[in-house]
Symmetry: C2
Subunit: 280 residues, 2 copies
Amino acid sequence: VSSRITVAIFGVGLIGGSIGMALRQRGLAQQVVGLGRDDARLNLARKSGAITASTTQVEEAAKSADLVVICTPVKFLFEHVQMVTQHCSPTTLITDAGSTKLNLVQQVEAELPSANFVGSHPLAGSDRSGVEHASGDLFEGRTVVVTPTEASPEHSVTQLTDFWESLGAHVVRMLPAQHDRALARTSHLPHVLASALAALTREDELRLTAGGWLDTTRIAAADAELWQQILLDNKQNVAAEIGNLCQKLNEFKSALDGNDSETIKRLLAAGKQRRDAVGS
Amino acid sequence: VSSRITVAIFGVGLIGGSIGMALRQRGLAQQVVGLGRDDARLNLARKSGAITASTTQVEEAAKSADLVVICTPVKFLFEHVQMVTQHCSPTTLITDAGSTKLNLVQQVEAELPSANFVGSHPLAGSDRSGVEHASGDLFEGRTVVVTPTEASPEHSVTQLTDFWESLGAHVVRMLPAQHDRALARTSHLPHVLASALAALTREDELRLTAGGWLDTTRIAAADAELWQQILLDNKQNVAAEIGNLCQKLNEFKSALDGNDSETIKRLLAAGKQRRDAVGS
């Protein structure tokens, strides 16, 4: 990434704001233009050092951008790619930061064949949102999945990979469908689980929660509207994983019903082995 | 708690070690005697400041103790209460730190009617174990459940409550059966869930995990043998909660199958509301 590029960030929240801060702190961009609907939020982003300029007009942000990163909610991504495409140069690389990839990539390729778009998913979300929680280090050591297809120009994939790596991330290349299947297990199912567990806990028992419950339910605090969109956009994979999880839970239940200590220990050891492989 | 009391700690790991450190740092005990099987572990506990003396002989630890706290694995608790009872004075208060209460309390009351025993459960575990992770602050602001019954002398309950409060904890008094039902939801089910989720994640997908997965599965790293004992000791409640959770998960699944965004959002919002009520 040349230090003279201009980057437009559509949606300057946790992810968009962190991209802007990382670009500025590393001296990677000449200009970082924040695009959004809300002037107050854009001013906050500017004050916190995430962007150098801001606008509420897509045209103004898109026309001079070498790279546009769309960090808006999943539900709006296609519409926003479309809006950017109408106003940017044909060479402008467009990417996103959405948690699901297949539907978006398919729709862009079908309806916007001239768009220079390659999908991205930085695995760096949290239960928090907003530029007030953004950080220039957010992508340091994190994984970003990029999801080109046969239709993606190789130089765009290279440019996008270089971009995320310049922010400190590891880039993993996957097909959109493969991404959505894997993330159903590693991200979307954990959200469903955390939420179900939190909802199941009775209000008068909350004082009896400790570290285990707090960790296990933490992401249930994430924004319900944003996560509804993600889960629904990947509904077949998530529904299948809910089924797989209940099957695994029923193995525990059968072992408990049968007083089968060896099986319970074996099941727990299998979970521990996977968890220990990752670290804290 | 008078500063002249002598406390014996049976099993000086994370919990036992933290009790010893808290007692010593707060100047609450004249002597803290560590009791265990392994001299090397006891020496480590002594070096880390958790205990002032150590022994592998129950008699030696029990005979002069005003209070004995049994912090050994759930499976051994009854046996260890029995051993301590054989050697301590009739006025010595005996408690434990086990994660389940009903079976232990019932067995002690049935088989050791003369024991001055009241059950405890400090909600301060973690995925780690061993005195090397112990801390004198572990109980600061944490909840400790004490589970007296009609058979428990009120002065013993007061003494035990004062003890845990002197370590910085909030004490909640519950019946043993009530404790086990509630903890099935707030602690034991989260362990099963974390383990099931971790085990379900494919090895080649571990690089695609991020904060949500890491939080949700953290306690899957806990000791499999210890947790097998806990789950089995509370098997009916845990099995029932696994059933309740699968029912809740199937509400998500039906909503996904039916493309029902309103229901998904409502379910997520319910989980968020409970989680937000607790804090980080």
